[in-house]
């Protein structure tokens, strides 16, 4: 079912942006990381900031993010991406430094760096991928793992008595005066992807205006860690993750809009 007549440059509706390299991503099939990479790259292309964007890669699944973004990149020590981004942005104030971190990196080992960078109101963009699990190391429990969720290190499900409550770090950060824009989005449907793209665009625009820290959480799936197919993992995410991590803006233009 292939219409050769329609395939003409003037009919082009959508094409992968050139800000993403042509390397095949190492992510598992259906992983939200790839989608998020793509929309960040699209925003960078649309804003024409490819030569000014600097990616700070974390430790975690997205440790090799610099293989996929055709922008300058640095790899930070585990959890220290906001600290490194602070230095880069202070030394290059007209550049666009963004960190790309998972929940193990940002909400576990990097909690201190994240909170202090946000509290200082550093002019950086933090993209936070929350899939409630340590994906890279084999599906261990993360601070964001839901109550009752089975992981490699909580095979009978996470319990409050033993493991405490899931950490809603995005709500926590929204309380800090340094954060200017805090939002939670997802990438499981085309509409959600468009909204997330808009949020990321807003974050980079805020950075251009030197407004302070912009924090975009992307609730994502981890089909390998959750042991499901990709479409099933997306369904599971909608049913379970969104109850604890509701989608929507939390802080816009420095004002709380939720809670």
């Amino acid at each position: 079912m292939f219409n050769q007549d329609i395939v003409k440059p003037e009919n082009l509706v959508y094409k992968k942006t050139d800000v993403l390299t042509n390397n095949v991503m190492h992510y598992c099939p259906g992983c939200g990381h790839g989608t998020t990479h793509r929309i960040i790259a699209e925003v960078i292309e649309e804003m024409g900031i490819q030569d000014k964007a600097i990616c700070v890669a974390p430790v975690g699944c997205s440790v090799l993010a610099y293989n996929y973004f055709s922008v300058d990149s640095l790899g930070a020590a585990h959890g220290r991406a906001p600290a490194l981004a602070t230095a880069i942005q202070r030394l290059n104030p007209d550049h666009h430094t963004f960190t790309y971190q998972g929940d193990g990196d940002l909400a576990a080992i990097g909690t201190a760096e994240t909170i202090h960078a946000c509290n200082r109101g550093e002019n950086i963009v933090i993209i936070f991928i929350n899939n409630g699990i340590y994906g890279m190391t084999g599906g261990q429990m993360a601070p964001t793992t839901l109550i009752g969720m089975q992981t490699a290190t909580s095979p009978y499900g996470r319990t409050v008595e033993l493991n405490g409550y899931p950490l809603q770090i995005t709500e926590l950060l929204s309380q800090l005066p340094g954060t200017y824009f805090v939002t939670r989005q997802s990438v499981h449907t085309a509409a959600a992807v468009r909204k997330t793209k808009k949020a990321i665009r807003q974050a980079f625009e805020n950075q251009k205006g030197k407004k302070g820290t912009s924090f975009v959480e992307v609730v994502s799936n981890c089909n390998s860690g959750w042991k499901m197919t990709a479409p099933k993992a997306n369904e599971w995410m909608v049913e379970n993750m969104f109850a604890k991590y509701p989608i929507g803006d939390i802080k816009v233009d420095g004002e709380l809009v939720q809670k």
């Binding site: 079912m1 292939f2 219409n3 329609i6 395939v7 003409k8 003037e10 009919n11 082009l12 509706v13 959508y14 094409k15 992968k16 942006t17 993403l20 095949v24 991503m25 992510y27 598992c28 099939p29 259906g30 992983c31 939200g32 990381h33 790839g34 989608t35 793509r38 990438v187 499981h188 449907t189 085309a190 992807v193 468009r194 089909n223 197919t229 990709a230 479409p231 997306n234």
Partner: protein
């Protein structure tokens, strides 16, 4: 009526996750019986009803889908 749109899928880069199949409002896409060089059943268009909405391309984690539409 001929389809208004069409998708070009980079078979070798497709990982066959099936997210695009769920996203397609016209059920145009399906996983192929054949596999690509990496052993994945890649996604392909099986019905000539594509409207060129680009929903599949928006959700594709690997950015393998290029969409065309008659304007």
């Amino acid at each position: 009526m001929a389809a208004k749109g069409t998708v070009v899928i980079d078979k070798e880069r497709c990982k066959g996750c099936g997210v695009c199949i769920v996203a397609c409002p016209k059920s145009v896409l399906a996983l192929a019986k054949n596999v690509n060089g990496k052993g994945y059943n890649y996604s392909e268009a099986v019905v000539d009803e594509c409207i060129g909405c680009a929903s599949c391309a928006m959700v594709c984690p690997d950015g393998v889908i290029t969409v065309y539409k008659v304007k």
